[in-house]
Subunit: 250 residues, 2 copies
């Protein structure tokens, strides 16, 4: 078993342990009061950014690989994961760019270096608790931080399209799955939940309609009251019902 403290891909790394030509990229969503965010890696000595990604071991299920990659970058286990699309056109690969990124890290890869091959990438997205994450840069990257979904830096390859598509699926499923549970905390007020939904959907929602809709959806459970000071009526606390499936992937 590999210790996640080792550098991920040193120069002498054994790429042979992975399935070739197949990668995983993750759109990791987090949320704070200023809105929905995504965890982005910055490559050392360059102005290039990318989604956290990785490869699949030869005897590893793809979902397990995605979980491992997520844990390597966030330190979190047991998070909401959703495989949403496989990206595999020819234009998405850019060996020149990857070579340049490697060179800026002191590597001089040959033209047939493993990392320069054409990859098909499986897109996963994850919903994580922003405050629990300990962002960890990986091999080739020296930054790992959150960016608001409207303030993303320019991403390599087709990663911007991946983000867009992940967001689309997230929006589609937002009223039918336990989205919000991993982005917020275990308990939250209806107002907090509404702000999260507005941030995901990119539009203002009507307060009373949202309240009814969420309660009728059967996803929520109402708990006791919240007393934390506020010069107004104290809101109830809510949580997601535990009898509904917690994750898209078990």
């Amino acid at each position: 078993m590999k210790n996640s403290r080792e550098p991920d891909f040193p120069d002498s790394f054994d790429y042979g342990q992975f399935l070739p030509a197949l990668a995983i990229d993750c759109v990791i969503f987090g949320y704070s009061e200023d809105g929905l965010k995504i965890l982005i890696l910055g490559y050392k000595n360059t102005s290039y950014f990318s989604l956290p990604g990785g490869f699949i071991r030869k005897r590893e299920a793809i979902d397990d690989a995605a979980k491992r990659i997520l844990e390597e970058r966030t330190g979190l286990k047991d998070i909401y994961l959703n495989q949403f699309y496989a990206f595999g056109n020819l234009e998405r690969s850019d060996p020149e760019l990857m070579k340049m990124i490697m060179e800026n890290n002191g590597f001089t890869p040959s033209d047939d270096h493993w990392l320069l091959q054409r990859f098909v990438s499986l897109g996963y997205f994850a919903l994580v608790n922003y405050k629990r994450v300990k962002p960890r840069p990986g091999f080739l990257s020296d930054s790992c931080r959150w960016y608001g979904i409207h303030e993303l830096p320019e991403l390599i390859f087709d990663h911007a399209k991946m983000v867009e598509q992940a967001l689309e699926i997230l929006r589609r499923d937002v009223y039918s799955k336990r989205i919000g549970e991993n982005l917020l905390f275990e308990m939250f007020t209806m107002g907090e939940l509404q702000k999260l939904y507005e941030s995901i959907l990119g539009e203002k929602l009507h307060r009373t309609g949202f309240h009814r809709k969420m309660m009728r959806s059967g996803l929520l459970k109402r708990l006791g009251k919240k007393k934390t000071g506020g010069a107004h009526r104290s809101p109830y606390l809510y949580s997601f019902r535990s009898d509904k499936p917690k994750h898209a992937i078990s």
Copy 2:
């Protein structure tokens, strides 16, 4: 360019032209009056069946590979295609079974034969016109025919799960995409369309509600009348509006 009349995978075949460890499997839906069908291959001299599948060339987009595979089995181009999921757990591979299938075809593959490796498979589904298809068996298979979705033979690997999942997505999208266009003909009556939808959804639909819903969806266009003899009011003919996207994949 490979001529599709060549046998697909003769013993001396150059597997090196493909991306390793990555496959494509296709759930090809067709429809006739007795219901929704799927195109299934039967392996020679065995009682095993599988979805039509294939591999991806090293310089070929995955969508193009799916189109090529579909054309090889059906003779059709320009069909409704939808990539719906990547299947990649470890249990899905069964080299013993594949070896047996090959042996029943007169091959004696070594244990490290290319076809016996672990594959991740990209699931696509297609909607085709049943009557236009010329089913063509491929390498290892000697039958290629339609099976009703409730009369499928036992499929290898996780192909039954693939069918199930494809059907789920088809059902989810049935009211928002131009489904029906490629399963029926260019023009159809509302009754014909309703029967198709009932077959897809697996339930009876209410006639008048269906009529309204389809017309309100904006997907349909009403044409002139149909006169073909019937001792009753002649139904209108309908088609899908051409200003909506025709395929899920361009």
